[in-house]
Subunit: 351 residues, 4 copies
């Protein structure tokens, strides 16, 4: 059933030692058309992937190498999970036959000045920015099919936009009064070795972080502004939850004149009726992060508020899958003319 080697997409994963890289390998490991040829990781260069990620020990993977050593000629596609800034430089240097799916933040913001403001340095590849497609699959599907460079959304923006784009776009809610209380598992911070990510700093407790200053805010605002047809700001307040994976958005919205929570539900249901990975849960049901764990699904919910004229809308996804590697594979499938769901049918794992 497998494709022969010559039919396969020859893939490089840059920055494969992060959790996102590992989950990409996990998903591609069951992808019939994927041939992982190159995996890079600076500090771990020279090691087998199984030394860095023993759970992938059963796979037959190339050794990790430095990004400078990669042979691009050999590749059709790279997934890029490098730190911001670095990504721009590397991608600018690639031969043009290589398609790129970037998982970093480097090409998500259309306005390079907004990028500079939030990331603390100028954009190093402004010439590539106009050609970059924002990889929110359900919204940019057609452009993604023809793109050379896809900038996958951040995990939070994916969860937020899937929930709010139809509501803002349809004029069902007041676009200037959007509160987004977000909760994330610890893998959202990657595998970076910082005191704040130690087990005992995170387990059995919780706290907010990046209040009013998280870098995913401008990305959310950019896309909601497109939907609203004018610039808008949002409240975005993330919290760190003692769980590995999962992201949950509780959004408090003010209904536009004459609309009800039932209208919001209807619009969301219609918008996603044909989408394989996005689902509105039935009235009365409550989504939970564990309902999507390990899968590419995104669940949405709508609730009436006790405050008149308001509603509560929620969404959840696995930050490493639909919020990152899964959406990236979904985009790869589109870019190479494959079944969009290929290698993404894995069901959520509960417990």
């Amino acid at each position: 059933m497998s494709k022969t080697a010559k039919d396969k997409i020859r893939i490089g994963i840059l920055g494969a030692s992060g959790y996102t890289g590992a989950d990409l390998v996990r998903l591609l490991g069951n992808h019939d058309a994927a041939d992982i040829r190159v995996v890079t990781a600076n500090a771990h260069a020279g090691k087998a992937m199984a030394e860095v990620y023993p759970h992938l020990g059963g796979m037959n993977l190339p050794r990790l190498q430095k990004v400078e050593e990669a042979n691009w000629d050999d590749l059709d596609l790279i997934f890029c999970g490098l730190p911001h800034g670095t990504t721009q430089k590397i991608i600018a240097s690639l031969p043009s036959h290589v398609k790129v799916i970037d998982l970093s933040a480097d090409f998500r913001l259309r306005n390079v000045e907004t990028y500079a403001e939030w990331y603390g340095h100028e954009h190093f590849a402004p010439q590539l920015q106009p050609g970059a497609v924002y990889g929110l699959t359900e919204y940019y599907r057609d452009q993604i099919k023809d793109a050379r460079l896809v900038a996958c959304p951040g995990c939070y923006p994916t969860a937020v936009l899937m929930l709010l784009l139809p509501l803002v776009g349809g004029g069902l809610i007041e676009a200037d009064d959007i509160i987004i209380d977000a909760k994330s598992g610890v893998t959202g911070a990657g595998r970076s070795v910082k005191e704040q990510n130690l087990y005992s700093e995170v387990a059995d407790g919780m706290h907010p972080y990046g209040i009013a200053s998280h870098r995913h805010a401008p990305e959310i605002e950019q896309e909601l502004s497109v939907a609203a047809g004018r610039d808008l700001l949002v409240n975005f307040t993330p919290h760190l939850i003692p769980m590995n994976r999962g992201e949950f958005i509780t959004s408090y919205v003010r209904l536009a004149d004459g609309h009800t929570a039932a209208d919001l539900r209807k619009v969301l249901e219609e918008r996603y009726a044909d989408e394989p990975f996005v689902r509105v849960v039935p009235e009365g049901a409550v989504p939970a992060t564990r309902h999507v764990r390990g899968s590419n699904f995104c669940l949405l919910g709508v609730f009436e508020d006790r405050l008149p004229g308001r509603a509560i809308v929620v969404s959840t996804l696995d930050n490493l899958v639909k919020g990152s590697s899964g959406q990236a594979v979904q985009n790869m499938n589109l870019m190479f003319g494959l079944d969009e769901q290929m290698a993404l049918r894995q069901l959520p794992m509960f417990p």
Copy 2:
């Protein structure tokens, strides 16, 4: 240093087999003036407390008995942690010399019709309701000193009211636009044996519950209405977090005309300047549940919002201590003329 037995307060704990009962015993175990004479628990009657709570095995406690078997003559004070409804009946039957600190919801709502509406049955002791003092220590201190019956607030209301009462009372925020996103550890649900509280249903994931229908909402609204001088409603949306203890409130508020986040901070700092258990964290610091774990402290924080004219205010406490047993002991100290902080100086446990 210990008081002699005859100076001590003779205490009964009704419903001692819940987590709240156990934490009460933990705190009273180091209270020089407390003499626990009676502990009741229906299903476990006849057992030693150490069979039900082995961590208390080193203490010299009476055996658990049925509440019907308790000898009230022998007691000065009971803490009551029984299911709602039951509490009202039991308390109505007690001899008048016994003081009561109720940890259930039975006497928290001043309006017995509101009680009936939210708890699904009529109030069984309406004659006692007018004499019940709402046990939010920092706000009803003087009445508590003279009360016979103190109705301790729910854990969420304690965290919310400590945060919002000065802001609503001082007219610093719009009282009709209060969003309360609440997060709680699993002990908030008590030791009740339900599928939804099983380890694997709760660990490594999260979800909201009781959306727009949680019974703590009317309690919060009652007290905020008092502060506002008129009836008001709030959004109150709790979430279940995979941690044992701890409660975190993230409240999204609209500033009243001319006010700033800095004003909110100033008002909170002034209000709690002399309170031993409530503290506003310094600007830039972010409270976390683990900063209060096991202690009677409540921490508050104030942040500017990215949305103009709004602010984000937060609070955290340990739901079993300041949110329940600790506040109960604090009230006991007041009711018996003791140092208010007695047995409550234990510092938070981190990690």
Copy 3:
């Protein structure tokens, strides 16, 4: 690529509301030859599977029904996850064309008296016991292919036997001096609603249980006795660990005369060289439960002891997959002449 409906195995899952049932559905959901026709659950009969397990909400499954209502004519195979005793009665009543993979303990012990002794009631289907094949795939593969009734091993026995059978069978260790210190995640206890399985009773702590009395001991002893060619006993001491899935065996063994830890490693490596799901980790590497989470893999390790003449051998697997549902699907594949790895290639999920 999918088989047409008429080629598919028509499957019933009895007791589908347990975690094992849910994980079976998760695995079979991606199995091209599986057609789930019947799912039963007594308390939940009448509900959709998605009400009981929302993470399976995207699947098209039949409604849960009572086991008495199942139409056996329609089925080729049942997976049976019922409580012990019940299983024996149900299976005895099935039409003979239906193959059975039992996940309970009811047919694991060859000696029906041993069964009666450990399970507290007589065996209700002793006539079926001789035909039951012990479903440890890597050891009973040929019999499984032709079996009508396969009794899948317990999760602990699977992990222990994979590790110790080659060592006892090859005479490399002293068979009368085997210490098995076992650690299990909480799903090992199933979804049963008991106080001891509540989040706060299990999280952030650990303890042993069933010391010298766990029902998996006779099962382990049965199979090791076969390998040894004589009856033997083992120490088996399980511990409950605050994690959802995963089982870890640390076994302390005395080397038979002249043997070394290196010999143990060599024997295990040779035994499993061609097995797709069992792997000895390289010298120096240390297996962890999270290296197999969600997958059908079993990892083994061998270490020299500080005590002369002894070695430490370890194994790990996911109790719900290789320790239960995954091994069951592996056996199904064999019984129906399919590729043994079908639907089991899912890689471990880390983190």
Copy 4:
């Protein structure tokens, strides 16, 4: 009730930024005779303790300083929680009026060559070693009272020795056949910022580490050898468990001729009958880490094995309290003629 300042012990805590340092501050915060004058931490020098440990924000503590800046004249006692090697150099340089309670491994091993072998460098203060008293309070109480330098045991050795010393010393078990399967919470690794201690590397899973090579083995062997009257070795195999605090020892022992598990129980019960912090749980009860969480207690248990002639003995304690800071305070109380239990009566916190 507090002592006046001049009666108090003037204390310095070196290496106060580790979890052990923080727990020491937590305990001393309620100690009537303790006056913390100096806290040091190299990387954090200049900060307030509350910046490093916000849960201690309510205390009135000196600022962190570099160890070189400490004024020893002002101090009666230092607790030393520095890395090994460093400790020896610092302590050697202290004025002789300062008493020292060392929480590192630097003075635990009587044989300086054993130290060099296990710690990879020569002992830097061999002249002080003979005067160092091993701070296992229940066994060296009299020497501790008069000591200037007390070397507190490691957390594992404390749990192991409390369990095995009476059994080896009394000749009840075979001293050459001791298996020690140990489990520890993550704080056992301190607050060191290493990938292996990140939340997602540790949560929801487990694994052994330091197999046959952990530095606590020689310490255990040293003390058991004293009890046995001859040199012995032990198996010691630690495992990392996803919990903050707590240590659990499951030890598999061979009974000496004629002895039974009941004899072991009797000997342990008698040995600890008058000890306030060590308790043998009743027959049938099973100790758990959460029964001692946050407290200075150590619980022991004895079980018959299924294997003839063997027994299973267990112990548990909180690694940061009885396994470290609590035992240190207990020793301080002895060294300064105070009530041994002072500041250590805090009951375990469950959940």
